[in-house]
C-alpha cells in the first residue's frame, strides 16, 4: 500500500541518491583542483582540463536536478534554506557559473582574461564548490537559525512564511566547527575522487605518478576530517521528532539512528570500505588504475547513508535552532500526496536515464585520453 508516509520516505531516498550521485560527480571539481597541484607541464594541465571537461555537464545537470527534485518534493526546504542561507547558496552558484564557462572559453582566441584566469576559476570552483556544499549540508545536523510561521500568509503587510534570524544569511555556518569539518571532508573526498578519475581516464604515466602523490596526501586529509566528523556525529545531540510532530533534542540521536537502522549502518560501512579500497589499491598496487570503480559506488553509498540518518527515523533533517518547532521534517516540509505520487511515476524513468548515460559514456571512454589524441583532435579545451 502506497501511503503518504511511504512517498515521503521514498522521496527522501531519491534525494539521498541524488546527493550521493552529486558528490560522486563532484570528481569533476576534485579533478580541477588538481590542475595546478598535479599538472606540472602545460600538456598535463591540458589533459586534466580535457578529461574533466568531457564530464562537467553531468555534474552540473545533477546539481540542477538535485535542486529541482528538492523543490518538487520538499518545497519548504527550498523556500527556507535558499532564501535564508542566501549568501552561501549564491556563492555556490557563482563558483559553478564560472566553472560552466571556463572550459569553453579558456583556450579560445579572444578570451580577454587569458587561459590561466579560467583555470584559476576552475580550481577555485574545484575547492570552494564542494567545501561550501559540504558546509551547507553540515547544517542538516547542527541546525540553522530560522522561523517558519505559516500563519504569516494571512497578513497582507508581511506575509512571509520563512524568516531567517541568523546574522549573516548563512555565512554564520562557518562559526560551527562541525560544519567546517564536514565541508573540508567533502572537499578532500572530491579531490580523492578527482585524482582517481584522472588516473583512470588519462593514459599518461608521468601525470599518473604525480596524481598518485597528491592522492596520498588528500586521502590522509580526508581520513582525518572523516574521523572528526564521525566522532562528532555519533556524540552530538540531534533533533528528534515525536509522534505528534513535536521536535525535541535527543542525546546521541545520530548514533541511535545508525544503530536503529542497521541497513543504513551497513550501507555506510560497505560504502566506506569500498571508498577506502579504491584509494588504497590505487596507491599501493603498481599500475592499478581502476580505483574509481570502487570509490565511486562507495561514495554514493556513504553519502546516501548520511542523508538517511539526517532525515529518517523520526529526525528533523533541517533543524531550526531559533525555534525547534520550526524545524523541517519529512512530514511537515514535503509536497502533497498527489504531487509526490505523480513525481514518483516520473521517477521511474531514472533507470532509463542512467542506462543511456552509461551507454554513451562507455562509448566515449572506451579508450583513455592521451597526449596523442589531444594533439590530433580539433575540439579540445
Amino acid at each position: 500500500m502506497i501511503t503518504y508516509e511511504f512517498l515521503q520516505n521514498y522521496w527522501w531516498m531519491l534525494i539521498s541518491l541524488l546527493g550521493g550521485l552529486l558528490v560522486f560527480l563532484l570528481f569533476v571539481q576534485g579533478g580541477n583542483s588538481m590542475i595546478f597541484l598535479a599538472g606540472k607541464t602545460e600538456e598535463e594541465r591540458q589533459l586534466i582540463v580535457n578529461s574533466t571537461g568531457r564530464k562537467w555537464e553531468f555534474t552540473f545537470t545533477t546539481l540542477v536536478t538535485f535542486g529541482g527534485a528538492f523543490y518538487a518534493s520538499f518545497p519548504l526546504f527550498y523556500s527556507t534554506s535558499f532564501s535564508g542561507a542566501y549568501f552561501v547558496w549564491m556563492l555556490i552558484l557563482i563558483t559553478f557559473v564560472f566553472q560552466a564557462v571556463s572550459y569553453e572559453f579558456q583556450n579560445k582566441a579572444g578570451n580577454i582574461l587569458g587561459k590561466n584566469a579560467f583555470r584559476v576559476f576552475l580550481t577555485l570552483n574545484g575547492c570552494l564548490g564542494p567545501l561550501l556544499i559540504g558546509t551547507a549540508v553540515g547544517t542538516f545536523f547542527t541546525g540553522s537559525s530560522f522561523i517558519v510561521n505559516k500563519d504569516a500568509a494571512g497578513s497582507s503587510l508581511q506575509p512571509i512564511i520563512s524568516q531567517w534570524t541568523g546574522c549573516c544569511h548563512g555565512l554564520e555556518a562557518v562559526a560551527n566547527p562541525f560544519n567546517v569539518e564536514f565541508g573540508l571532508m567533502v572537499m578532500f573526498l572530491t579531490m580523492c575522487l578527482g585524482a582517481l578519475y584522472l588516473i583512470n581516464n588519462i593514459d599518461d604515466e608521468p601525470l599518473a605518478k604525480s596524481l598518485r602523490g597528491r592522492l596520498g596526501f588528500v586521502f590522509i586529509c580526508f581520513l582525518v576530517c572523516l574521523v572528526f566528523v564521525l566522532v562528532h556525529l555519533v556524540t552530538m545531540p540531534g533533533f528528534a521528532v515525536g509522534e505528534d510532530g513535536y521536535v525535541f533534542i535527543e542525546k546521541n540521536k545520530y548514533l541511535h539512528n545508525f544503530l536503529q537502522m542497521p541497513a543504513v549502518l551497513a550501507l555506510f560501512l560497505a560504502g566506506a570500505v569500498l571508498l577506502v579500497v579504491g584509494v588504497v589499491l590505487t596507491l599501493f598496487r603498481k599500475g592499478f588504475r581502476r580505483g574509481i570503480w570502487f570509490s565511486a559506488p562507495g561514495t554514493v553509498m556513504v553519502v546516501m547513508a548520511i542523508f538517511m540518518i539526517a532525515g529518517y527515523n523520526n529526525t528533523a533533517y533541517y533543524p531550526s535552532i531559533a525555534n525547534l518547532q520550526s524545524s523541517l521534517t519529512l512530514a511537515n516540509s514535503c509536497s502533497s500526496e498527489f504531487t509526490l505520487k505523480a513525481m514518483s511515476i516520473v521517477s521511474l524513468i531514472i533507470p532509463f536515464v542512467l542506462a543511456y548515460i552509461v551507454y554513451a559514456w562507455r562509448k566515449m571512454d572506451l579508450r583513455s585520453l592521451t597526449r596523442k589524441e589531444l594533439a590530433e583532435t580539433d575540439h579540445k579545451y
Binding site: 535542486g67 523556500s79 500568509a153 497578513s155 497582507s156 513525481m343
Partner: protein, 496 residues
Amino acid sequence: MLETALIDWSRAQFALTACYHWVFVPLTLGLAIVMAVMETIYVIKKDEFWKNTAKFWMKLFGINFAVGIATGIILEFEFGTNFSNYSWFVGDIFGAPLAIEGIIAFFIEATFVAVMFFGWDKVGKKFHLASTWLTGIGAAISAIWILVANSWMQHPVGMEFNPDTVRHEMVDFWAVALNPVAVSKFFHSWFSGWMTGSIFVIGVSCWYLLKKRQTRFAISSISVASIVGIIGTFAVMLSGDSSGVHVAKYQPMKLAAAEGLEDGGPRSPFSIVPGIEIPGMLSILATHDIDGYVPGINDLLYGYVDSDGVEHPSAEVKIYKGKTALKAFRAYRKLKDTNPQAAEKVREVLDENMDCFGYGYINSPEELVPNVPLIYWSFRIMVGLGSFLLLLMVVVLFFSLKGKIQNMKWLQWIALLSIPLVYLAGQAGWVVAEAGRQPWAIEGLLPVNAAVSSLSVGAVQTTFFIFVAVFTLFLAIELRILFKAIVKGPETTDNE
C-alpha cells in the same frame, strides 16, 4: 511592512537573469536544428563539405551553450533565494515541472552534447547524427517543461488551496502539463529560437559573402537557415495567434496594456502605433470575432458587462473579496485546532472568496495596472521586427536559390545588421509576457509583494550588481570569442 525597494530589487535581479538567459537560449534552440539538418545532409550525401559546415556551426553553438547553462541554473535557484514565499505557496505545483525538466531533458542534453563535440572519431556516423539531434531535442524538451511552469504562472490550473498546509496543491497533473497556454507558449518560444538561429546563420554567412570568402559554405548555410527560419516564423505566427486569444481570455489586463486600450468593448480597434488604428482588428485577434468584447483598462478596474451579458466585477470588489478571504483564512488558522465547527464556517467564507484570495494583498486598484508604455512598445517591437525578419528570410532564400545573393551587397548588409534585431524581438516578447503579468507573480493568485523572500535590500543589491558584472563579462567574452571564431572561419576552402 515589506519594503518596496526589496520587491523591486528582487524583481530586477530575476529579470536581469532571465533577460541574459534568453540572450543565449534561443541561439541554442535554433542553431541545434540548423546544424542537425546540415549533419543529416552530410550523412545522406557523404560529402565532407557538409560535415565541415556542420562542425563550424557546432563550434559557435558550443561557445554559446555554456553561458546559457550558467544563467539557467541561477534562474532555478532564484525562485528559492529571492521568492521564498512563492516557492512554498505554489512549490507543490511549480516544483514538479522543474524536476521533470532536470530528470528528462537536461540529462539528454548533457549526455549527447558531449558525444556531439568529442565523438566524431569515437562513435559511428549514425550514432553521432542521433546525438546531434538528441542535443537539440533535449533542449526542446527542456523548453517544454520550463514553459509549462511559466505558463502556470500566467494561467494557474489543476490546483486547490489547502489552508491547513497554506499552499496551493496540485490535483490534476495533466491540467498543469497540458495547460493550453503552455502548448502555445512552448511552440511560440521554441520556434522563435529557430528564427534566432536562422537569422544568426544568415547574418554570419552574409558577412563571408561581403568578404568574398567561403562562398559555397555561406550560400549553403543561408539556404538551410532560410528554410528553417521561414518554417519557424510561420509557426511563431500561428502560436502567437493562439497566445493572443489566451491572453485575452486569461490575462485581459495584459492585453489591454499591450494595446494601450483604456476603454474597450466589441469591435475594438488594433493600434499599429499611437494614432493609427485598424477598426475591429483587436476583437478579431483576441476573440476571432469582430464583435468580440475586449475590455480596456478602465473596464477591468471599474467593472463591465461583456457582449454575452456576463457581469465582471470591479477591482475594488475583487480586493474586498480578497481581504475577506484573508480574514477568513486567519480565523480558520486560529480556530482549526480549538473549535472545528467554527473553523468549518469560516472555511466556507474562505472558499466563497478564494477566487480573489490574491487580491487580498493588493492595496489599491491602480496597483493592478502594469507599465502600459513598456508593454505597448515592447509588443510593437516584437511584432514589427518579427514581420520584417520573415520578409528578409523569404527574400534571402529567393535570391540564394536564384544564385544571385553573392552579388547583392545591400541584402548582405541588411542580413548582417539584422542579427541584433532578432535578439531585440525575443527580449521584447518576454517583456510583454512577464512585465505584462505584473503585479502578479501568479496571475490572480499571488502578487509579487507577497511572493518575495525576507531579505535585506542590501543583500539583494549586492548579488544584483555581482550578477550584472559577471553576466556582462561573460557576454563580452562570448562575443569576442565568437567574432574571432567567425573571422577564422570554417575548415572549408575559400571557393567552398
